[in-house]
């Protein structure tokens, strides 16, 4: 059924469903003979599951994916938001666990979504069990010239590993479908339906209506900060709001991390932890001193506990790209390394899961939330200064100056650590910009972030190449210790390490240009415009 066009209707008041449906029938009887069609192909019970990634990548690309369950197997249907079909493919069954698009059998749906969704898994967003009945509308010759399809759906939001499913009944939906060659009759039927009291045009597709009924809305998850902050808000309140938003992101991702659905749950979790640590460090002066000190240590622990598995994820995610770069060695030579990484990841995952299920993590999240809520909702007289705007300006300016000074001191002879340190400072500035994005002029903001991003990419390439090179060495040692390293594998790893060293040299050569663009006179003017506005 297509979404919300002029031929789709909804019964406004489910309580008066029977009388409204009787009125519909009566209205249609004025122009047509109305006959039930119990054996119609589309009648009966339909089971559909809408799928998307946790961060709504398909929805954001204007697409909807649903799995239509049949007696044996089913089919995946990809359509545009307005219901226009894009691709479909048969699948024998939908796995119980959320799966990657790459795990689907070859087919047109897989081809369309694999790049869009990777590396995220497809999750069931809404399930609907519909009872569909079909009524034929006949002309004077007894010929079917249109059909009325009535659908009553019960929709369910699948629960995570904890909690129960949420279920809702949707009001009946009515759709007039056209029989080929009789468009005027379908229009006429739709016109009659539109005139029935208690029936109105469906403004939402079934999918969106289901989400609304379940208290959700599309794209209701985003890893960006997007806290509700205003310029005149007291700084402690603004910081508490920011940190609460980050805590929400951390908690929203815990289930996906523990179920190991895809690697990006942990990634988003870690980004939120890092942002929290930066916020505590850079903005913590407006929070009670003991609170900031305690949680700085707790979130450092949380960051550290998630690092080993993320490092392994990065290796595994980039594995095929890495093997594709081999010139002397064969990709097959690196397979023992992949197997080693997978084994090690399984071990590290158990450690991580134990930490996230343990009391320390629960205490961090529960107590931190309580403390932040108290700050956010504190009543009574409160110091108005500093405001959020003043805090944003002061901290951003200081962070920029710090980068400008430290970056200017870097020469070709400076040790790698100086670039690593600069990378951290650049990341802090980026976070500050993101925290207070809503207070800045969007054009000025985009310009500064664009320059900063260029610098960060260069610094990231430099450091990641070095870190990965060291890790390759460490992995080689570990594989040798476990006697899991054939000579060909070690040679291939050597080739990879050499490539990483080459990338690092290139990044280092690029640094001066990127830094000059960011922190030179033009870059400084862009930051000034951001913080002070145009003169």
């Amino acid at each position: 059924m297509t979404a919300g066009g002029l031929r789709e209707f909804v019964v406004d008041s489910p309580a008066e469903e029977d009388s409204t449906l009787a009125a519909v029938r009566s209205a249609l009887s004025r122009a047509f003979m109305v006959v039930e069609e119990p054996g119609a192909a589309s009648s009966g019970t339909h089971r559909r599951t809408w799928l998307d990634t946790f961060d709504w990548r398909l929805y954001k690309a204007g697409l909807t994916l649903r799995f239509e369950q049949a007696r044996r197997g089913g089919r995946l249907v990809l359509s545009k938001a307005d219901g226009t079909p894009q691709a479909e493919q048969q699948v024998t069954r939908w796995p119980r666990r959320p799966g990657l698009a790459g795990d689907l059998p070859d087919g047109p749906v897989r081809d369309r979504i694999i790049v869009l969704t990777s590396p995220r898994a497809l999750l069931p967003i809404v399930k609907a069990v519909s009872t569909v009945s079909v009524t034929r509308l006949l002309n004077a010759d007894g010929k079917t010239v249109a059909r009325l399809v009535t659908e009553q759906a019960t929709v369910t939001a699948p629960a995570g590993s904890t909690g129960a499913d949420t279920t809702a009944e949707l009001p009946p939906r009515l759709a007039v479908t056209e029989v080929r060659g009789y468009p005027g009759q379908a229009r006429r039927a739709a016109g009659l339906l539109a005139g029935v009291p208690g029936v109105s045009y469906a403004s939402q597709s079934l999918f969106i209506a289901a989400l609304t009924a379940l208290g959700r809305h599309p794209a209701d998850y985003s890893s960006s900060v997007e806290a509700e902050i205003t310029a005149t808000m007291p700084a402690p309140v603004a910081v508490a709001r920011l940190l609460l938003r980050l805590l929400d992101t951390i908690e929203l991702n815990v289930d996906g991390v523990l179920r190991d659905i895809d690697t990006e749950f942990l990634h988003d979790f870690r980004v939120a932890v890092r942002r929290t640590r930066s916020a505590i460090k850079l903005l913590g002066t407006v929070l009670p001193a003991d609170l900031a000190g305690h949680y700085a240590a707790e979130f450092k622990w949380l960051g550290d506990v998630t690092t080993p598995i993320r490092d392994l994820d990065v290796h595994l995610l980039g594995f095929d790209a890495m093997t594709g770069q081999l010139a002397a060695a064969s990709p097959a030579d690196l397979e023992p390394l992949r197997a080693f990484l997978v084994r090690r990841r399984a071990r590290e995952f158990r450690r991580l899961a134990a930490a996230l299920r343990g009391p320390r993590f629960r205490a961090i999240t529960d107590d931190w939330r309580k403390a932040l809520l108290e700050i956010r909702d504190a009543s009574g007289p409160r110091r108005r200064r500093p405001t959020a705007a003043a805090l944003a300006r002061g901290t951003t300016e200081r962070a920029f100056r710090r980068i400008a000074a430290r970056g200017a001191a870097i020469t070709p002879d400076s040790p790698p650590e100086s670039l690593h340190d600069l990378r951290k400072r650049a990341k802090e500035l980026r976070y500050l910009l993101e925290f207070f994005a809503s207070l800045h002029d969007p054009v000025a903001y985009r310009k500064v972030v664009s320059d900063l991003k260029q610098l960060q990419d260069c610094l990231g390439e430099f450091q990641d190449s070095e870190v990965q090179r060291h890790e390759i060495h460490a992995l080689a040692d570990a594989m040798l210790a476990e006697r899991a390293a054939p000579a060909a594998t070690l040679l291939a790893m050597g080739e990879i390490a050499a490539q990483l060293a080459h990338s690092q040299v290139e990044a280092r050569a690029e640094f001066a240009v990127r830094f000059a663009r960011f922190a030179g006179p033009a870059g400084q003017e862009r930051v000034r415009v951001l913080l002070e506005g145009r003169r």
Binding site: A40, A41, R136, D141, G142, K143, T144, V179, R180, G181, Y182
Partner: protein, 262 residues
Amino acid sequence: MKIFATYNIKGGVGKTTAAVNLAYLSAADGCRTLLWDLDPQGAASFLFRIKPRVKGGGKALIRGTKTLDDAIKGTDFDRLDLLPADFTYRNMDLLLDGNDKKPTQKLAQLLRPMAAEYDHVFLDCPPSISLVSENVMHAADVLLVPLIPTTLSVRTLDQLTEFVAGFNGRRPQVWAFFSMVDRRKKLHQEITKDLQSERPGVAATPIPALSVIERMSVERAPVTAFAPRSVAARAYRALWYEVQQDPKPPRTPQLNRGPARW
């Protein structure tokens, strides 16, 4: 897209009932199916309760001022569409014999764009020997020939087979089947038995003469739809399976009778 055509020079031998029922079974099996009622009498259109009328008439279709797509009507059944008859089809010979360089290929040419939309097309031909029937034979992949079990009917099959064998290049497969068979008549029994054993390309399934088939004009639906468990419906189903299961009956059956004239 595979094109089936029901054809016989004689009228009243069960062409339309076969076309209607086999097209219905094709659609019921999941194939996107189109039935083109080429007979100006419009019997197939009547059976599907569709008015035998095409805007612009046969002229618009043949000359291409209207596409087949525009004239197609959905039947009451999933995946089964109908291109209705029109009384102007009585002049189709003249229309086909226009300025076209290949007047016998015109229908095949018109049907070609339908390949993306349909798996099977059925052509229900008027009883005649004409440019229309010749077009149909050139367009069809399978020619379904209903035969009443009489000696003359058998002779007609021979003539048709020989005519098709004379085509240059692409030739349709000729599948004959006995229609309106009265099992009480000894002659019917003998002819059906003899011809099936003597000739390849003759379906083993006969369509019996039954009043339930005549009821199609009262019910205005295929017997396979309104009486799916009837003997008649079972016979059509068996015939449909037979026609599909052996997709390659000999294209030019060996003739064992005297030379045929067309």
